[in-house]
Symmetry: D2
Subunit: 364 residues, 4 copies
């Protein structure tokens, strides 16, 4: 898939920079007749919005989405849905020193090498701000998948830096800024973040994402497996350095007699596979796990080079998330929804006529 | 990327089943003028060939590749290169009981649900045999990348089931059937495999892959990042359940001051990033790690359902790899080469005119 | 190529409807470092703008383009260039009667059948207004191709309804609203249009487009020939019903000894081929000719059915071009530029290393 | 669409050269469960086969197709269908003089310029022989479309050089080597061809193609219109220089009141549009017309240059069709079927849920 477009049949083309007049995306291929308004999209954008707690960037963006096209009298028309989000709080002066140096761990150097020039304001295209259009597009996919198949997408943080977060109760996820399924650990998480902020440092996180009620049969055998496309989408999210499906790296030490999920007429007995076998969905819950690296924009001085190739030191002030993982949960959910949506349409194109004598095994 | 085609500009279209007359692929978009013959491809196929030790399937396939098109007087013409590998050892009777049941952990069930029917002989399209054309195509990419940029691709096994393998000496990798960079651990590995085979069970593995001398600047900012395409290709390899770039999941517990790779004029001081920042290659070594699940075709009886949906038990005899990870190394190398090749052409298309005042930082 | 995106490497994704808040496009894949501002694009939009003479729709659109992203300090950054054009004169009431009936010869019926609903305001996506973003994107391609290869794109009207227009002087093209290379025929053309408008009818046109200084070697052998992509782009332009390359349909009655363009060291002796042989550019002028059908929105009453499937009569008032061909010339030029641009990048990706002992034959 | 692959969801990847060991294609995306054997494909190949009359090349190719994959127990499995056709009559010596010179009107020069080298045997990839895999793939599409929608594809020659052929009776098309719907003109056609052959010259032709029972709603609004994709496919056929949909170039002189097809509840009153409005199928007959140029390989001496750039003369002996249009009819039918097939799947993907209160207007 080339550049800034995600998907084959439900295609999202992303545009904009952190400090230009607007960011947005064009969704091409959405089925017609879906009831859609800004109110379907805005809540998802609000979930990833900056400035909602002291633990994330204090940039104050309203992130109000506007539908520019593709909807008529409240229904999608089947033609491109253009979504636009104005940038309102562009404090370019914060980024002055970034122009001439390259932050260790940041895309500054590689963008400059690739293109011969770069837009230093807010990281240009490498800003996590560019995930907002992805989240907006994901909201459209989620609505259709919910109506058509009853799909649900949910994610949470399972580790913050060195702190493992117990999966206690998913109802607690929306009640805290970390998307932690466990509010009893909040004091511990907040104390860790406060210490980090004082140190001018940053940390990583592990995010879990799930899709439920995914139809069986999504995914192509070779090479375009459902899990391959999930891995593509997730690794394409800023700062992600690892992706697991189902048991992931724990599989290495498992035996086949332990890993393979047994089937009985009432459903699968377990879900080590994470809902995908041979690249095709089983109908079970899709289980995806992400490793997010620590933010590279930190106050601690680091060795680097400048645009003349000379040694220098870099400290990044400005407004940055000390842990980009904190806001990653809704983005990862959106990406998973976009992948499932695309494969749902692909599957309908090729296999709409398939009939079998008994219904799929229930997801368990 | 739809179905059986990998890549945008260097595109590999894979065809065939494990038990049909032949398997193969069509490579479209190869630069013209590359010296190419079967002798450039065969050694890579031989590295992944079955039957080379007692630890892998005893299916005896010569895996002789034939170039059907795209080469004239020893040079690629720029037109499609069709590669074909005859299937010679198709013992279909081995698979009799698979027709009516679904192996736990195998694609049997999902293929049947997706398509309404399936070719049970040797796993059809889900057979690891279909990786042979990928390896063949990868050999073409490797030759061009070596000539053009000096790229090298190398991989090894770093863990077999529960046994971590020390990275002692890469020269030892070709000297043992496990692709282990450490022959002193061979007795331990062989003993483990023998025990496993006796138990009729299987195990997972962790594979490392590296690309060296990769040019800086490969990869697209959004969504088609270099690491996203690597994750796509690797997760699309049979049995892979996890992919890491650079430090991978270890990033979760790192701090930014520890993770970000400092730069000095002589190069990067470290490579936690694994050679990719912001989705774009840094010019450092690409570091990729894969989790491979245990083979699902095992002799131990497992609960399953049959094609009528009734409960049954499945034992798989036939000839199967007790650890598909053993033969995965050359495949993973080929996939990495194909991704780098595609991005090298994409980069040339868009950015061939880019000029900078000083050369890229040396890879260290 | 799916839906609303044109091109493989220089990709234009179009969005918007005639009566929404804005129309526009996202250009992905533009080479970095190209000097670009709205001033490079606006003149092309002004050439196709409505309301410039009494012979075209009187809708008064300023068609002011705004660059939303992809340009920093006056240079393209290599990331998506979003272009937006506000709709300012949306007189939706003009289209009241269109909602419930289907205009003969118009897309009303087919859109409704395809999507189950449609946006009747101004033809929704089938409006010729959607060609404005194409023209804007074409201006970017033209600038790069001019700088890189000296390419020039020019078009003109060669027939208006029954009136053949002599190709007298290309300098006269910009001096008249018909893009006629012959101002001496203007009174005849204007009289014909005035008569047509009085009659409430419409007419067709033939448009010629040329590209000069196109590099040799652009185009893929099978199936993605340069002329195939030109035909795709041109037939995709509203109201086009025929496309010719070079001698086009006149070839049918020619003999091989007459048609094949002889070569001498000084160049080709003729250009019956229209600059493409075997799907690949020869380096000669690209010669393309288009047939444009008469506008379907006319005042004359026509038999049709309504949304209940009952017989009715349709007359279209509103503001429509009596000959869409009049404004087609700059659009066709833009489409030709976009196709050449895409193939120039494709060619560079695959064949940048090709070296030959003598330079291409000069274009003659 | 890049290079040697046609289609988005029903994708045909073509490989091979005229004088290699084999040619063929891989079809990816075929719906599963379609009954398919070589017997479904061979009759179409036989229709385009060389050597069937004295008016076409005397090369004696059996053109026997073999299905290598994608079919199990007589049904398509949904995975890639590889089709292979062996080359059996490769008389390379016939082409000796072509190696060093460039035939006027032929792709010799442009291939050499593009790739820096070329396979001169039989025209390499520019040989009309490469249309055989397209015809084979088309046969698969035709079978599915016939079963699913009752689609029929038919074509004929309507002009041979200067001789217009009356459309008398479609039942006569298979009864003569010209695919003429009028056997009474056969003596005239044969006499013309005999004269041409004696003169060592060649001629052009006009071919008509029709698709009947095409569902309403196929095609995308912008840019991927159904007629745009038809034009792409047809202009990509060897020697085609012009494509018309419906009235084609005759539209230029028509008035809107004459061109627009009126609708009544019983159907459309006429079909000037050729079955497409706004890029979307109307449900009427698709009407396509092609201009085919005269063959460039002729015995008459022509001026050219050699590989050193020096002036020379070229005469082509070997075995060539004096009118490639004679065998073009089944190829054009196949291409039309492939385009309709792809759009049928695309339409199902996006709009399978569309429901309307009354059935489509009958095709008339």
């Amino acid at each position: 898939m080339p550049g800034s477009t995600l998907g084959t049949l439900f295609r999202v083309t992303n545009f904009g920079e952190s400090h230009g007049p607007a960011i947005g995306c064009v969704i091409d291929g959405c089925p017609p007749g879906l009831a859609l308004s800004e109110a379907d999209i805005q809540p998802e954008l609000d979930r990833r919005r900056p400035g909602t707690s002291r633990h994330v960037t204090q940039r104050a963006e309203a992130d109000q989405v506007q539908i520019l096209s593709g909807v008529y009298e409240g229904l999608t028309t089947g033609t491109p849905i253009a979504l636009q989000i104005a940038n309102t709080d562009q404090r370019s002066k914060d980024y002055g020193n970034i122009l001439d140096t390259f932050r260790p761990g940041h895309a500054d150097y590689t963008y400059w090498r690739k293109y011969g020039l770069r837009d230093p304001r807010g990281g240009g295209r490498s800003s996590a701000r560019l995930t907002a259009p992805t989240v907006a597009a994901g909201a459209v996919a989620r609505k259709w998948l919910k109506q058509q198949h009853g799909c649900e997408f949910i994610g949470w943080m399972s580790q913050l830096g060195p702190i493992a977060i117990e999966h206690e109760d998913e109802a607690q996820i929306p009640l805290n800024p970390f998307f932690a399924p466990n509010t009893s650990q909040l004091p511990q998480l907040e104390a860790y973040m406060d210490e980090l902020r004082r140190a001018g440092d940053s940390c990583g996180a592990r995010i879990e994402v799930r899709a439920r009620n995914v139809p069986v049969g999504l995914g192509e055998p070779l090479y375009d497996k459902l899990d391959a496309d999930i891995a593509f989408a997730m690794m394409g999210l800023n700062a992600v350095k690892g992706v697991e499906i189902g048991d992931g790296f724990a599989c290495v030490a498992q035996r086949g007699s332990e890993h393979g999920d047994e089937m009985i007429p009432g459903g699968f007995a377990s879900n080590h596979a994470g809902g995908v076998l041979g690249g095709i969905s089983t109908g079970q819950e899709l289980r995806v796990s992400l490793a997010i690296k620590p933010t590279s924009s930190i106050r601690i001085a680091r060795a680097s080079v400048n645009r003349s190739g000379e040694p220098t030191e870099v400290q990044t002030f400005g407004r940055h998330d000390p842990c980009v993982g904190i806001r990653a949960t809704p983005i990862a959910e959106a990406l998973l929804a976009l992948v499932v949506m695309d494969h749902a349409l692909l599957q309908r194109a090729q296999c709409a006529d398939v009939q079998l004598p008994w219904p799929p095994l229930p997801a368990r």
